[in-house]
Amino acid sequence: MLLKEVLSLMQKDFVLEWRQKYAFNGMLLYVSSTVFVCYLSFGLRSNVLTVPVWNAVLWIILLFTSVNAIAKSFMQENRGRLLYFYSIVSPQGVILSKILYNACLMLVLALICFVFYAFVLGNPVQDVPMFLLSILLGAIGFSTSLTMISGIASKAANSSTLMAVLSFPVIIPMLLMLIKMSKNALDGLDRGASLDELLTLLAINMIVITVSYILFPYLWRS
């Protein structure tokens, strides 16, 4: 029952996105212009761009992209439609479908960002599958924590400022883990070295999903 709800809500989100192409194209342009700005600012002195800097800049771009992309997930819904959902589906279905949809959206955006970034600024990654795994985990992690935060922020008056204020402290631990894990992949270290980070990320994701699942009904009611 819940699964069917989640699937149909996700389908609705995808169809909406496909018809409007508003959020996706906007974010695509955002990603490409940010990467290009980085290219222009680093390109003149390529010796400045060491591997740790390359990694940090990529994750910062991904962080801002995800905050901007996911902030829309509740703000773009108008009141009437939310009221309609409220009467026909369960809140758990709504939050799970939003998390899954945002994870898919972030995954696509992050992959495009990575490919474009590597194309423009060079690709020092030595262990590409591991690096892609860290991007996958990053997409899932960002979408789980930011979806709930965007739900909270959308209730308040100055929601876009609040979104940044609320989300950064929540996301920093995750970001530190991700940067460390992707740094290991960049240096081509043994994959066992990243196991700790991987497990911690999965554990944090599980905590956040569980808490969102329990708490969202209270948020939804207002």
């Binding site: 924590s145 709930m148 935060i149 909270i152 209730k155 308040a156 008056a157 100055n158 609040l162 204020v165 609320l166 950064f168 402290p169 929540v170 920093i172 631990p173 530190l176 883990m177 700790d196 980070e197 911690t200 554990a203 944090i204 905590i207 956040v208 808490v211 969102s212 708490l215 209270y218 948020l219 009611r221 207002s222």
Partner: protein, 220 residues
């Protein structure tokens, strides 16, 4: 004697200050007399966690049973928890200046504590951005629980994965490995209980005051 715990708090704190500054402590290299910070810095974090736990419990209670009382206690407890966190970070920085040489040395534990405080400052900002009382209470209760869930990995899991200068991490001896001997314990445990009780006392007084203010406001 229903106020026995307040008397206990005062006695324990007087004992902590007097005994903490005057009793014998183990002589250790680098730490020297700064080891006495154990009685003031560490209890702040214990107190912060316990008082924030109180805040979360009242937030859960608010979601199950919305009443002004639960909301006020959750808010006041969060504020006192933040106060303890700030004091913890300040005492830690003071200590770090004398042992590590810098107030802030980019240590994982310091960074974790700073991020944790940011989480709760965001709680204050969130609260102030609602005008309507019931909505403010419900949404900040939701965020409070969410923030506490995010705080747990930050304080208890991440610092253990990285090396740190902090005692107890990365090969540095923790206070309990060899030097938390009975002389230190004798003052440390009363200090933890005393500071925590003081925090609960502040929460108690402040939330009663806040509830009285609201009742006065309603009657006029």
């Amino acid at each position: 004697m229903k106020n026995w715990w307040k008397i206990l708090a005062v006695l324990l704190l007087v004992f902590t200050v007097v005994a903490g500054l005057l009793t014998e402590v183990p002589r250790l290299a680098i730490l020297n007399e700064t080891i006495r910070n154990l009685y003031f810095h560490v209890p702040m974090w214990f107190g912060m966690i316990l008082i924030l736990l109180v805040s979360v419990v009242y937030s859960v209670k608010y979601l199950r049973n919305p009443s002004i009382k639960n909301d006020v206690i959750a808010f006041e407890a969060a504020k006192v928890g933040i106060l303890f966190g700030v004091l913890g970070i300040v005492t830690g920085m003071e200590w770090a200046k004398f042992t590590w040489g810098e107030y802030w040395s980019n240590d994982p534990k310091q960074n974790g504590a700073a991020i944790g405080l940011l989480l709760y400052f965001a709680y204050l900002v969130l609260r102030s951005s609602f005008a309507e009382q019931q909505q403010r209470a419900r949404i900040s209760a939701v965020y409070n629980i969410f923030a506490f869930a995010a705080l747990i990995p930050l304080l208890f899991i991440l610092p253990r994965l990285t090396d740190s200068l902090h005692p107890g991490n990365g090969g540095n001896p923790g206070f309990n490995s060899y030097d938390l001997d009975n002389r230190l314990r004798l003052v440390f445990y009363p200090a933890v209980i005393g500071w925590t009780l003081l925090g609960i006392w502040i929460v108690n007084v402040k939330s009663r005051l806040e509830l009285l203010k609201q009742r006065l406001y309603e009657n006029h």
